[in-house]
Protein backbone atom coordinates (compact mmCIF):
# COMPACT_ATOMS: atom_id res chain seq x y z
CA UNK A 1 0.00 0.00 0.00
CA UNK A 2 2.89 2.39 0.68
CA UNK A 3 4.36 1.71 -2.79
CA UNK A 4 0.91 2.24 -4.35
CA UNK A 5 0.50 5.50 -2.42
CA UNK A 6 3.97 6.55 -3.60
CA UNK A 7 2.88 6.05 -7.21
CA UNK A 8 -0.31 8.12 -6.73
CA UNK A 9 1.66 10.84 -4.94
CA UNK A 10 4.53 10.97 -7.46
CA UNK A 11 3.05 13.65 -9.76
CA UNK A 12 2.19 16.03 -6.91
CA UNK A 13 4.32 15.42 -3.82
CA UNK A 14 7.40 17.46 -3.01
CA UNK A 15 10.47 15.34 -2.33
CA UNK A 16 11.70 17.16 0.77
CA UNK A 17 15.43 17.51 1.43
CA UNK A 18 17.48 15.79 4.14
CA UNK A 19 19.31 18.70 5.81
CA UNK A 20 22.22 18.84 8.24
CA UNK A 21 24.60 21.29 9.90
CA UNK A 22 27.93 20.77 11.66
CA UNK A 23 26.60 23.09 14.39
CA UNK A 24 23.72 20.73 15.14
CA UNK A 25 26.06 17.72 15.11
CA UNK A 26 28.12 19.49 17.77
CA UNK A 27 25.12 20.07 20.06
CA UNK A 28 23.92 16.49 19.69
CA UNK A 29 27.32 14.84 19.90
CA UNK A 30 26.53 12.73 16.84
CA UNK A 31 25.52 13.22 13.20
CA UNK A 32 22.05 14.73 12.89
CA UNK A 33 20.00 14.74 9.69
CA UNK A 34 16.64 16.47 9.42
CA UNK A 35 13.94 15.33 6.97
CA UNK A 36 12.30 18.69 6.28
CA UNK A 37 8.64 17.82 5.78
CA UNK A 38 7.76 21.39 6.78
CA UNK A 39 8.64 22.11 3.13
CA UNK A 40 5.87 19.77 1.93
CA UNK A 41 2.75 21.25 0.28
CA UNK A 42 0.53 22.84 3.00
CA UNK A 43 3.57 23.01 5.31
CA UNK A 44 3.42 19.49 6.75
CA UNK A 45 3.68 15.79 5.84
CA UNK A 46 -0.12 15.53 6.23
CA UNK A 47 -0.59 16.34 2.55
CA UNK A 48 0.79 12.87 1.79
CA UNK A 49 -1.83 10.99 3.81
CA UNK A 50 -4.61 13.30 2.66
CA UNK A 51 -3.72 12.74 -0.98
CA UNK A 52 -3.29 8.99 -0.55
CA UNK A 53 -6.76 8.72 1.03
CA UNK A 54 -8.65 11.06 -1.33
CA UNK A 55 -7.02 9.58 -4.45
CA UNK A 56 -8.19 6.11 -3.35
CA UNK A 57 -11.90 7.11 -3.24
CA UNK A 58 -14.39 5.89 -5.83
CA UNK A 59 -16.41 8.21 -8.07
CA UNK A 60 -19.50 8.29 -5.84
CA UNK A 61 -17.43 9.13 -2.78
CA UNK A 62 -15.61 11.87 -4.68
CA UNK A 63 -18.93 13.31 -5.86
CA UNK A 64 -20.30 13.47 -2.28
CA UNK A 65 -17.25 15.04 -0.63
CA UNK A 66 -15.06 14.30 2.37
CA UNK A 67 -14.90 15.25 6.05
CA UNK A 68 -11.97 15.29 8.44
CA UNK A 69 -11.15 16.38 11.99
CA UNK A 70 -7.81 17.96 12.72
CA UNK A 71 -5.98 20.60 14.73
CA UNK A 72 -4.92 22.01 11.41
CA UNK A 73 -2.28 20.09 9.48
CA UNK A 74 -4.40 17.11 8.47
CA UNK A 75 -7.10 19.72 7.76
CA UNK A 76 -4.93 21.50 5.22
CA UNK A 77 -3.66 18.27 3.70
CA UNK A 78 -7.17 16.94 3.14
CA UNK A 79 -8.48 20.33 2.01
CA UNK A 80 -5.81 20.67 -0.69
CA UNK A 81 -6.16 17.05 -1.80
CA UNK A 82 -9.95 17.48 -2.03
CA UNK A 83 -9.65 20.75 -3.92
CA UNK A 84 -7.23 19.24 -6.45
CA UNK A 85 -9.63 16.31 -6.92
CA UNK A 86 -12.51 18.73 -7.53
CA UNK A 87 -14.49 17.64 -4.47
CA UNK A 88 -15.61 19.44 -1.29
CA UNK A 89 -14.22 19.12 2.24
CA UNK A 90 -15.70 19.77 5.69
CA UNK A 91 -13.06 20.11 8.43
CA UNK A 92 -13.81 19.85 12.15
CA UNK A 93 -11.20 21.87 14.07
CA UNK A 94 -10.67 22.65 17.77
CA UNK A 95 -11.74 26.18 18.74
CA UNK A 96 -8.19 26.91 19.93
CA UNK A 97 -6.38 25.79 16.76
CA UNK A 98 -3.71 28.26 15.58
CA UNK A 99 -5.22 31.13 13.60
CA UNK A 100 -2.91 30.45 10.65
CA UNK A 101 -4.11 26.86 10.33
CA UNK A 102 -7.78 27.90 10.44
CA UNK A 103 -7.25 30.64 7.86
CA UNK A 104 -5.29 28.35 5.54
CA UNK A 105 -7.86 25.57 5.74
CA UNK A 106 -10.60 28.02 4.73
CA UNK A 107 -8.43 29.52 1.99
CA UNK A 108 -8.02 26.02 0.53
CA UNK A 109 -11.78 25.93 0.04
CA UNK A 110 -12.86 23.81 3.02
CA UNK A 111 -15.87 24.44 5.27
CA UNK A 112 -14.60 24.71 8.87
CA UNK A 113 -16.71 23.50 11.85
CA UNK A 114 -15.38 24.11 15.38
CA UNK A 115 -15.50 21.90 18.52
CA UNK A 116 -14.24 22.18 22.10
CA UNK A 117 -11.26 19.88 22.80
CA UNK A 118 -12.07 19.60 26.52
CA UNK A 119 -15.79 18.93 26.40
CA UNK A 120 -16.66 17.48 22.98
CA UNK A 121 -15.74 14.23 21.17
CA UNK A 122 -14.48 15.00 17.68
CA UNK A 123 -14.86 11.40 16.56
CA UNK A 124 -18.57 11.48 17.35
CA UNK A 125 -19.06 14.85 15.66
CA UNK A 126 -17.26 13.53 12.59
CA UNK A 127 -19.23 10.29 12.45
CA UNK A 128 -22.58 12.09 12.88
CA UNK A 129 -21.86 14.69 10.23
CA UNK A 130 -20.50 12.11 7.77
CA UNK A 131 -23.69 10.04 8.17
CA UNK A 132 -26.04 13.01 7.88
CA UNK A 133 -24.44 14.45 4.74
CA UNK A 134 -23.13 11.32 3.01
CA UNK A 135 -19.50 12.44 3.40
CA UNK A 136 -16.53 10.08 3.52
CA UNK A 137 -14.58 10.48 6.74
CA UNK A 138 -10.81 10.73 6.26
CA UNK A 139 -9.46 9.82 9.70
CA UNK A 140 -6.24 11.60 10.66
CA UNK A 141 -4.12 8.57 11.53
CA UNK A 142 -5.89 5.28 12.30
CA UNK A 143 -6.66 4.62 8.65
CA UNK A 144 -4.63 2.34 6.34
CA UNK A 145 -4.54 4.68 3.30
CA UNK A 146 -3.41 7.59 5.48
CA UNK A 147 -0.67 5.47 7.07
CA UNK A 148 0.40 4.36 3.59
CA UNK A 149 0.64 7.98 2.43
CA UNK A 150 2.69 9.06 5.44
CA UNK A 151 4.86 5.97 4.94
CA UNK A 152 6.21 7.46 1.71
CA UNK A 153 8.33 9.71 3.96
CA UNK A 154 10.07 6.52 5.06
CA UNK A 155 10.77 5.44 1.47
CA UNK A 156 12.42 8.81 0.81
CA UNK A 157 14.43 8.63 4.05
CA UNK A 158 15.78 5.21 3.08
CA UNK A 159 16.89 6.46 -0.35
CA UNK A 160 18.35 9.73 0.92
CA UNK A 161 20.17 8.02 3.79
CA UNK A 162 21.73 5.57 1.36
CA UNK A 163 22.95 8.48 -0.77
CA UNK A 164 24.57 9.97 2.36
CA UNK A 165 26.23 6.65 3.17
CA UNK A 166 24.21 6.15 6.37
CA UNK A 167 24.21 2.43 7.19
CA UNK A 168 22.24 2.47 10.43
CA UNK A 169 20.40 5.15 12.34
CA UNK A 170 17.69 5.90 14.83
CA UNK A 171 14.84 7.71 13.09
CA UNK A 172 13.10 10.12 15.46
CA UNK A 173 9.52 11.04 14.54
CA UNK A 174 7.27 13.65 16.16
CA UNK A 175 4.32 11.46 17.12
CA UNK A 176 0.68 12.30 17.71
CA UNK A 177 -1.71 9.53 16.71
CA UNK A 178 1.10 7.54 15.13
CA UNK A 179 0.11 7.63 11.45
CA UNK A 180 3.46 8.99 10.33
CA UNK A 181 5.47 7.02 12.87
CA UNK A 182 3.89 3.70 11.96
CA UNK A 183 3.99 4.45 8.22
CA UNK A 184 7.71 5.25 8.35
CA UNK A 185 8.36 2.17 10.48
CA UNK A 186 6.61 -0.05 7.91
CA UNK A 187 8.51 1.54 5.02
CA UNK A 188 11.87 1.19 6.75
CA UNK A 189 11.22 -2.39 7.85
CA UNK A 190 11.67 -3.36 4.21
CA UNK A 191 13.93 -0.65 2.78
CA UNK A 192 16.33 0.03 5.70
CA UNK A 193 15.98 -2.77 8.25
CA UNK A 194 18.96 -1.48 10.28
CA UNK A 195 17.05 1.73 11.06
CA UNK A 196 15.03 1.93 14.28
CA UNK A 197 12.06 4.33 14.55
CA UNK A 198 11.61 6.16 17.87
CA UNK A 199 8.35 8.08 18.53
CA UNK A 200 8.90 11.53 20.11
CA UNK A 201 6.25 13.35 22.18
CA UNK A 202 5.71 16.32 24.49
CA UNK A 203 6.22 15.40 28.16
CA UNK A 204 2.59 15.91 29.16
CA UNK A 205 1.17 14.09 26.13
CA UNK A 206 3.35 10.96 26.16
CA UNK A 207 0.66 8.34 25.62
CA UNK A 208 2.64 6.47 22.96
CA UNK A 209 5.81 6.27 25.08
CA UNK A 210 3.78 4.94 28.02
CA UNK A 211 1.80 2.55 25.84
CA UNK A 212 5.01 1.15 24.34
CA UNK A 213 6.45 0.67 27.84
CA UNK A 214 3.36 -1.12 29.17
CA UNK A 215 2.53 -2.91 25.94
CA UNK A 216 -1.08 -1.74 26.29
CA UNK A 217 -2.69 1.11 24.32
CA UNK A 218 -3.22 3.88 26.89
CA UNK A 219 -4.48 7.44 26.46
CA UNK A 220 -3.54 10.71 28.14
CA UNK A 221 -5.26 11.39 31.45
CA UNK A 222 -6.03 15.06 30.92
CA UNK A 223 -6.19 17.60 28.11
CA UNK A 224 -2.60 18.52 27.33
CA UNK A 225 -1.47 22.11 27.91
CA UNK A 226 1.52 21.60 25.60
CA UNK A 227 2.20 24.17 22.88
CA UNK A 228 2.78 21.25 20.46
CA UNK A 229 -0.79 21.37 19.09
CA UNK A 230 -0.02 19.30 16.00
CA UNK A 231 0.76 16.13 17.95
CA UNK A 232 -1.63 16.26 20.89
CA UNK A 233 -4.15 13.45 20.61
CA UNK A 234 -6.19 11.82 23.36
CA UNK A 235 -4.87 8.40 22.36
CA UNK A 236 -3.24 6.80 19.31
CA UNK A 237 -5.10 4.15 17.29
CA UNK A 238 -5.29 0.38 17.42
CA UNK A 239 -3.81 0.08 13.93
CA UNK A 240 -1.01 2.59 14.44
CA UNK A 241 -0.19 1.31 17.94
CA UNK A 242 -0.10 -2.29 16.73
CA UNK A 243 2.50 -1.35 14.12
CA UNK A 244 4.53 0.79 16.53
CA UNK A 245 4.49 -1.92 19.19
CA UNK A 246 5.90 -4.41 16.68
CA UNK A 247 8.48 -2.17 14.97
CA UNK A 248 9.44 0.87 17.07
CA UNK A 249 12.00 1.46 19.81
CA UNK A 250 11.17 3.22 23.06
CA UNK A 251 9.53 6.64 22.97
CA UNK A 252 11.36 9.88 23.79
CA UNK A 253 9.81 12.94 25.42
CA UNK A 254 10.82 16.60 25.50
CA UNK A 255 9.55 19.73 27.22
CA UNK A 256 7.79 22.57 25.41
CA UNK A 257 10.86 24.73 26.11
CA UNK A 258 13.12 22.20 24.40
CA UNK A 259 10.79 22.07 21.38
CA UNK A 260 10.91 25.87 21.17
CA UNK A 261 14.72 25.89 21.42
CA UNK A 262 14.91 23.27 18.65
CA UNK A 263 12.78 25.59 16.49
CA UNK A 264 15.33 28.34 17.10
CA UNK A 265 18.25 26.09 16.16
CA UNK A 266 16.43 24.95 12.99
CA UNK A 267 15.93 28.62 12.10
CA UNK A 268 19.58 29.47 12.67
CA UNK A 269 21.29 26.37 11.29
CA UNK A 270 18.95 24.87 8.70
CA UNK A 271 16.96 27.95 7.58
CA UNK A 272 13.66 26.13 7.96
CA UNK A 273 10.53 27.11 9.88
CA UNK A 274 9.20 24.53 12.34
CA UNK A 275 6.12 24.60 14.52
CA UNK A 276 6.51 23.34 18.12
CA UNK A 277 5.04 19.90 17.38
CA UNK A 278 7.18 19.68 14.26
CA UNK A 279 10.34 20.32 16.26
CA UNK A 280 9.85 17.64 18.93
CA UNK A 281 11.94 14.99 17.14
CA UNK A 282 14.78 17.45 16.52
CA UNK A 283 14.58 18.50 20.19
CA UNK A 284 14.97 14.87 21.23
CA UNK A 285 17.93 14.48 18.85
CA UNK A 286 19.64 17.54 20.32
CA UNK A 287 18.72 17.32 24.00
CA UNK A 288 18.36 13.57 24.79
CA UNK A 289 21.83 12.33 23.79
CA UNK A 290 21.95 9.70 26.53
CA UNK A 291 18.70 8.08 25.34
CA UNK A 292 20.05 7.50 21.81
CA UNK A 293 22.59 4.85 20.85
CA UNK A 294 23.32 5.18 17.13
CA UNK A 295 26.09 7.40 15.71
CA UNK A 296 23.59 8.92 13.30
CA UNK A 297 20.12 10.18 14.05
CA UNK A 298 17.51 11.23 11.48
CA UNK A 299 14.85 13.56 12.91
CA UNK A 300 11.65 14.05 10.93
CA UNK A 301 10.65 17.73 11.06
CA UNK A 302 6.97 17.23 10.50
CA UNK A 303 5.49 20.69 10.02
CA UNK A 304 5.98 24.45 10.01
CA UNK A 305 2.51 25.93 10.45
CA UNK A 306 3.27 28.22 13.36
CA UNK A 307 1.88 31.65 14.18
CA UNK A 308 4.45 34.43 13.84
CA UNK A 309 4.26 35.44 17.51
CA UNK A 310 5.10 31.94 18.73
CA UNK A 311 7.98 31.70 16.29
CA UNK A 312 9.36 35.09 17.35
CA UNK A 313 9.28 33.93 20.98
CA UNK A 314 11.35 30.86 20.09
CA UNK A 315 14.02 33.12 18.54
CA UNK A 316 14.44 34.94 21.86
CA UNK A 317 15.88 31.69 23.24
CA UNK A 318 18.99 31.92 21.02
Amino acid sequence: MIRAAEARLAPVVRRTPLLSSPFLDEIAGRRVFVKAECLQHTGSFKFRGGWAAVSALNETQLANGVIAYSSGNHAQGVALAAKKHGTSAVIIMPEDAPALKIANTRALGAEVVFYNRATEDRDKIGDDMAAARGLTLIKPFNEPQVIAGQGTVGLEIAEQARAEGIMDAEVLVSCGGGGLTSGIALALEETAPNFKVRPCEPEDSDDVARSLRSGVLTGNAATSKSICDAIITPVSGDITFGIMKKLCGAGLTVSDGEAMLAMAHAFQRLKIVLEPGGAVALAAALFRPDDIKSDTVIAVATGGNVDAGVFARSLEML
Copy 2:
Protein backbone atom coordinates in the same frame (compact mmCIF):
# COMPACT_ATOMS: atom_id res chain seq x y z
CA MET B 1 33.16 25.44 -16.99
CA ILE B 2 29.69 25.31 -15.40
CA ARG B 3 29.32 21.62 -16.31
CA ALA B 4 32.81 20.94 -14.91
CA ALA B 5 31.94 22.79 -11.70
CA GLU B 6 28.72 20.75 -11.52
CA ALA B 7 30.76 17.54 -11.62
CA ARG B 8 33.12 18.73 -8.86
CA LEU B 9 30.17 19.89 -6.75
CA ALA B 10 28.07 16.74 -7.25
CA PRO B 11 29.35 14.79 -4.23
CA VAL B 12 28.89 17.68 -1.78
CA VAL B 13 26.27 20.16 -2.99
CA ARG B 14 22.70 20.11 -1.78
CA ARG B 15 20.14 20.08 -4.60
CA THR B 16 17.80 22.73 -3.24
CA PRO B 17 14.04 22.43 -3.85
CA LEU B 18 11.88 24.61 -6.06
CA LEU B 19 9.05 25.68 -3.75
CA SER B 20 5.68 27.32 -4.40
CA SER B 21 2.44 28.26 -2.68
CA PRO B 22 -0.98 29.16 -4.04
CA PHE B 23 -0.99 32.05 -1.55
CA LEU B 24 2.11 33.59 -3.13
CA ASP B 25 0.66 33.07 -6.63
CA GLU B 26 -2.36 35.08 -5.51
CA ILE B 27 -0.26 38.00 -4.26
CA ALA B 28 1.84 38.07 -7.42
CA GLY B 29 -1.00 37.49 -9.88
CA ARG B 30 1.00 34.78 -11.62
CA ARG B 31 2.72 31.49 -10.79
CA VAL B 32 5.70 32.01 -8.47
CA PHE B 33 8.41 29.40 -7.87
CA VAL B 34 11.20 29.92 -5.36
CA LYS B 35 14.60 28.25 -5.74
CA ALA B 36 15.49 27.87 -2.06
CA GLU B 37 19.26 28.32 -2.00
CA CYS B 38 18.97 29.37 1.64
CA LEU B 39 18.87 25.60 2.24
CA GLN B 40 22.34 25.20 0.68
CA HIS B 41 25.30 24.33 2.94
CA THR B 42 26.33 27.45 4.94
CA GLY B 43 22.88 28.95 4.30
CA SER B 44 23.51 30.47 0.89
CA PHE B 45 24.39 29.66 -2.74
CA LYS B 46 27.92 30.98 -2.08
CA PHE B 47 29.09 27.51 -1.07
CA ARG B 48 28.84 26.55 -4.76
CA GLY B 49 31.24 29.22 -6.00
CA GLY B 50 33.58 28.73 -3.05
CA TRP B 51 33.77 25.00 -3.69
CA ALA B 52 34.17 25.43 -7.46
CA ALA B 53 37.11 27.82 -6.92
CA VAL B 54 38.89 25.94 -4.12
CA SER B 55 38.48 22.56 -5.84
CA ALA B 56 40.16 24.03 -8.96
CA LEU B 57 43.37 25.03 -7.10
CA ASN B 58 46.65 23.17 -7.61
CA GLU B 59 48.53 21.42 -4.79
CA THR B 60 50.85 24.35 -4.02
CA GLN B 61 47.95 26.77 -3.80
CA LEU B 62 46.05 24.38 -1.53
CA ALA B 63 49.11 24.02 0.69
CA ASN B 64 49.47 27.81 1.09
CA GLY B 65 45.81 28.60 1.83
CA VAL B 66 43.20 31.00 0.48
CA ILE B 67 41.92 34.49 1.27
CA ALA B 68 38.54 36.08 0.52
CA TYR B 69 36.64 39.27 1.28
CA SER B 70 32.94 39.09 1.98
CA SER B 71 30.08 40.50 4.03
CA GLY B 72 29.58 36.95 5.23
CA ASN B 73 28.04 34.51 2.78
CA HIS B 74 31.01 34.16 0.43
CA ALA B 75 33.09 34.05 3.63
CA GLN B 76 31.25 31.00 4.91
CA GLY B 77 31.19 29.32 1.50
CA VAL B 78 34.96 29.69 1.08
CA ALA B 79 35.65 28.81 4.73
CA LEU B 80 33.72 25.52 4.48
CA ALA B 81 35.22 24.65 1.10
CA ALA B 82 38.74 25.34 2.44
CA LYS B 83 38.11 23.33 5.60
CA LYS B 84 36.83 20.33 3.62
CA HIS B 85 39.91 20.57 1.37
CA GLY B 86 42.18 20.61 4.44
CA THR B 87 43.53 24.11 3.78
CA SER B 88 43.37 27.41 5.72
CA ALA B 89 41.27 30.49 4.94
CA VAL B 90 41.63 34.18 5.85
CA ILE B 91 38.39 36.16 5.46
CA ILE B 92 38.24 39.96 5.28
CA MET B 93 34.83 41.11 6.55
CA PRO B 94 33.22 44.53 7.07
CA GLU B 95 33.13 45.59 10.72
CA ASP B 96 29.34 45.87 10.52
CA ALA B 97 28.67 42.39 9.10
CA PRO B 98 25.85 40.50 10.87
CA ALA B 99 27.06 38.86 14.09
CA LEU B 100 25.81 35.45 12.93
CA LYS B 101 27.89 35.57 9.75
CA ILE B 102 31.04 36.53 11.66
CA ALA B 103 30.52 33.80 14.26
CA ASN B 104 29.82 31.14 11.62
CA THR B 105 32.85 32.08 9.55
CA ARG B 106 35.08 31.70 12.61
CA ALA B 107 33.36 28.45 13.63
CA LEU B 108 34.18 27.06 10.18
CA GLY B 109 37.85 27.53 11.03
CA ALA B 110 38.63 30.74 9.14
CA GLU B 111 40.76 33.65 10.43
CA VAL B 112 38.59 36.82 10.26
CA VAL B 113 40.14 40.26 9.53
CA PHE B 114 37.86 43.33 9.71
CA TYR B 115 37.74 46.47 7.52
CA ASN B 116 35.62 49.64 7.38
CA ARG B 117 33.19 49.64 4.40
CA ALA B 118 33.09 53.44 4.21
CA THR B 119 36.79 54.28 4.47
CA GLU B 120 38.80 51.24 3.39
CA ASP B 121 39.18 49.36 0.06
CA ARG B 122 38.70 45.65 0.61
CA ASP B 123 40.19 44.77 -2.77
CA LYS B 124 43.46 46.47 -1.81
CA ILE B 125 43.51 44.84 1.63
CA GLY B 126 42.92 41.45 0.01
CA ASP B 127 45.59 41.93 -2.66
CA ASP B 128 48.19 43.13 -0.11
CA MET B 129 47.54 40.28 2.31
CA ALA B 130 47.50 37.66 -0.45
CA ALA B 131 50.88 38.89 -1.70
CA ALA B 132 52.42 39.11 1.77
CA ARG B 133 51.36 35.62 2.86
CA GLY B 134 51.33 33.73 -0.43
CA LEU B 135 47.58 33.17 -0.27
CA THR B 136 45.33 32.62 -3.27
CA LEU B 137 42.59 35.25 -3.44
CA ILE B 138 39.12 33.83 -4.13
CA LYS B 139 37.22 36.86 -5.44
CA PRO B 140 33.54 36.92 -4.53
CA PHE B 141 32.08 37.35 -8.00
CA ASN B 142 34.33 38.65 -10.77
CA GLU B 143 36.13 35.31 -11.13
CA PRO B 144 35.34 32.64 -13.77
CA GLN B 145 35.45 29.62 -11.43
CA VAL B 146 33.14 31.35 -8.96
CA ILE B 147 30.71 32.29 -11.72
CA ALA B 148 30.80 28.68 -12.95
CA GLY B 149 30.00 27.37 -9.47
CA GLN B 150 27.07 29.75 -9.02
CA GLY B 151 25.91 28.82 -12.53
CA THR B 152 25.08 25.32 -11.31
CA VAL B 153 21.98 26.90 -9.72
CA GLY B 154 20.86 27.65 -13.28
CA LEU B 155 21.35 24.03 -14.39
CA GLU B 156 19.14 22.87 -11.51
CA ILE B 157 16.51 25.52 -12.25
CA ALA B 158 16.31 24.36 -15.88
CA GLU B 159 15.81 20.72 -14.85
CA GLN B 160 13.33 21.48 -12.08
CA ALA B 161 11.34 23.88 -14.25
CA ARG B 162 11.07 21.23 -16.95
CA ALA B 163 9.75 18.76 -14.36
CA GLU B 164 7.10 21.35 -13.40
CA GLY B 165 6.14 21.83 -17.04
CA ILE B 166 7.35 25.44 -17.14
CA MET B 167 8.06 26.36 -20.76
CA ASP B 168 9.10 29.97 -20.33
CA ALA B 169 9.70 32.19 -17.34
CA GLU B 170 11.45 35.24 -16.02
CA VAL B 171 14.12 34.21 -13.52
CA LEU B 172 14.57 36.85 -10.82
CA VAL B 173 17.91 36.81 -9.03
CA SER B 174 19.01 38.85 -5.99
CA CYS B 175 22.07 40.59 -7.41
CA GLY B 176 25.15 42.03 -5.71
CA GLY B 177 28.30 41.73 -7.81
CA GLY B 178 26.53 39.59 -10.38
CA GLY B 179 28.34 36.26 -9.96
CA LEU B 180 25.15 34.30 -9.41
CA THR B 181 23.12 36.33 -11.89
CA SER B 182 25.65 35.94 -14.69
CA GLY B 183 26.27 32.26 -13.88
CA ILE B 184 22.56 31.46 -14.02
CA ALA B 185 22.18 33.46 -17.24
CA LEU B 186 25.00 31.48 -18.89
CA ALA B 187 23.55 28.15 -17.71
CA LEU B 188 20.04 29.01 -18.94
CA GLU B 189 21.26 30.36 -22.28
CA GLU B 190 21.96 26.75 -23.22
CA THR B 191 19.56 24.73 -21.11
CA ALA B 192 16.43 26.94 -21.11
CA PRO B 193 16.79 29.58 -23.84
CA ASN B 194 13.18 30.78 -23.35
CA PHE B 195 14.00 31.89 -19.81
CA LYS B 196 15.07 35.49 -19.19
CA VAL B 197 17.17 36.41 -16.17
CA ARG B 198 16.34 39.68 -14.37
CA PRO B 199 18.75 41.07 -11.73
CA CYS B 200 17.02 42.35 -8.57
CA GLU B 201 18.54 44.94 -6.21
CA PRO B 202 17.75 47.21 -3.27
CA GLU B 203 16.60 50.67 -4.39
CA ASP B 204 19.63 52.51 -3.02
CA SER B 205 22.16 49.99 -4.36
CA ASP B 206 20.87 49.60 -7.91
CA ASP B 207 24.16 49.81 -9.79
CA VAL B 208 23.40 46.81 -12.01
CA ALA B 209 19.96 48.09 -13.03
CA ARG B 210 21.46 51.48 -13.91
CA SER B 211 24.44 49.92 -15.68
CA LEU B 212 22.13 47.74 -17.78
CA ARG B 213 20.04 50.80 -18.71
CA SER B 214 23.03 52.92 -19.73
CA GLY B 215 25.06 50.05 -21.17
CA VAL B 216 28.07 51.21 -19.15
CA LEU B 217 29.37 49.62 -15.95
CA THR B 218 28.55 52.13 -13.19
CA GLY B 219 28.99 51.94 -9.43
CA ASN B 220 26.90 53.21 -6.54
CA ALA B 221 27.54 56.82 -5.54
CA ALA B 222 27.50 56.37 -1.78
CA THR B 223 27.71 53.60 0.79
CA SER B 224 24.31 51.94 0.83
CA LYS B 225 22.24 52.09 4.00
CA SER B 226 20.10 49.14 2.86
CA ILE B 227 19.52 46.26 5.25
CA CYS B 228 20.30 43.86 2.36
CA ASP B 229 23.95 43.41 3.39
CA ALA B 230 24.50 40.30 1.28
CA ILE B 231 24.06 42.10 -2.03
CA ILE B 232 25.55 45.54 -1.41
CA THR B 233 28.66 45.97 -3.53
CA PRO B 234 30.30 49.23 -4.68
CA VAL B 235 30.13 48.03 -8.28
CA SER B 236 29.73 44.73 -10.16
CA GLY B 237 32.62 43.32 -12.20
CA ASP B 238 33.70 43.63 -15.82
CA ILE B 239 33.25 39.88 -16.38
CA THR B 240 29.88 39.60 -14.64
CA PHE B 241 28.55 42.83 -16.18
CA GLY B 242 29.68 41.75 -19.65
CA ILE B 243 27.65 38.55 -19.31
CA MET B 244 24.62 40.30 -17.79
CA LYS B 245 24.65 42.98 -20.51
CA LYS B 246 24.55 40.29 -23.18
CA LEU B 247 22.02 37.93 -21.58
CA CYS B 248 19.85 39.62 -18.93
CA GLY B 249 16.64 41.60 -19.06
CA ALA B 250 16.18 44.92 -17.25
CA GLY B 251 16.91 45.12 -13.54
CA LEU B 252 14.20 45.35 -10.87
CA THR B 253 14.51 47.21 -7.57
CA VAL B 254 12.64 46.93 -4.27
CA SER B 255 12.65 48.79 -0.97
CA ASP B 256 14.05 47.38 2.26
CA GLY B 257 10.49 47.21 3.57
CA GLU B 258 9.41 45.10 0.61
CA ALA B 259 12.36 42.75 1.14
CA MET B 260 11.37 42.39 4.82
CA LEU B 261 7.74 41.69 3.88
CA ALA B 262 8.88 39.06 1.37
CA MET B 263 10.85 37.40 4.21
CA ALA B 264 7.64 37.28 6.24
CA HIS B 265 5.68 35.73 3.36
CA ALA B 266 8.44 33.15 2.79
CA PHE B 267 8.24 32.28 6.50
CA GLN B 268 4.47 31.91 6.41
CA ARG B 269 3.95 30.27 3.03
CA LEU B 270 7.16 28.37 2.23
CA LYS B 271 8.54 27.67 5.74
CA ILE B 272 11.98 28.91 4.77
CA VAL B 273 14.21 31.50 6.44
CA LEU B 274 15.48 34.29 4.18
CA GLU B 275 17.81 37.18 4.96
CA PRO B 276 16.87 40.59 3.53
CA GLY B 277 19.28 40.37 0.58
CA GLY B 278 18.11 36.82 -0.08
CA ALA B 279 14.47 37.97 -0.29
CA VAL B 280 14.93 40.76 -2.85
CA ALA B 281 14.05 38.61 -5.86
CA LEU B 282 10.94 37.22 -4.16
CA ALA B 283 9.99 40.79 -3.20
CA ALA B 284 10.24 41.83 -6.85
CA ALA B 285 8.15 38.80 -7.89
CA LEU B 286 5.44 39.70 -5.36
CA PHE B 287 5.42 43.50 -5.48
CA ARG B 288 6.49 44.48 -9.04
CA PRO B 289 3.80 42.67 -11.05
CA ASP B 290 3.65 45.39 -13.71
CA ASP B 291 7.37 45.10 -14.45
CA ILE B 292 7.13 41.36 -15.24
CA LYS B 293 5.62 39.89 -18.43
CA SER B 294 5.78 36.09 -18.15
CA ASP B 295 2.99 33.97 -16.65
CA THR B 296 5.56 32.22 -14.48
CA VAL B 297 8.32 33.76 -12.44
CA ILE B 298 11.14 31.87 -10.71
CA ALA B 299 12.72 33.83 -7.85
CA VAL B 300 16.08 32.70 -6.52
CA ALA B 301 16.11 32.94 -2.71
CA THR B 302 19.83 33.33 -2.29
CA GLY B 303 20.47 33.10 1.45
CA GLY B 304 19.09 32.84 4.95
CA ASN B 305 21.88 34.07 7.24
CA VAL B 306 19.88 36.63 9.19
CA ASP B 307 20.15 37.64 12.84
CA ALA B 308 17.14 36.59 14.90
CA GLY B 309 16.17 40.16 15.82
CA VAL B 310 15.94 41.26 12.19
CA PHE B 311 13.90 38.18 11.33
CA ALA B 312 11.51 38.75 14.24
CA ARG B 313 10.98 42.35 13.02
CA SER B 314 10.01 41.07 9.58
CA LEU B 315 7.34 38.84 11.14
CA GLU B 316 5.69 41.88 12.71
CA MET B 317 4.78 42.98 9.16
CA LEU B 318 2.35 40.04 8.70
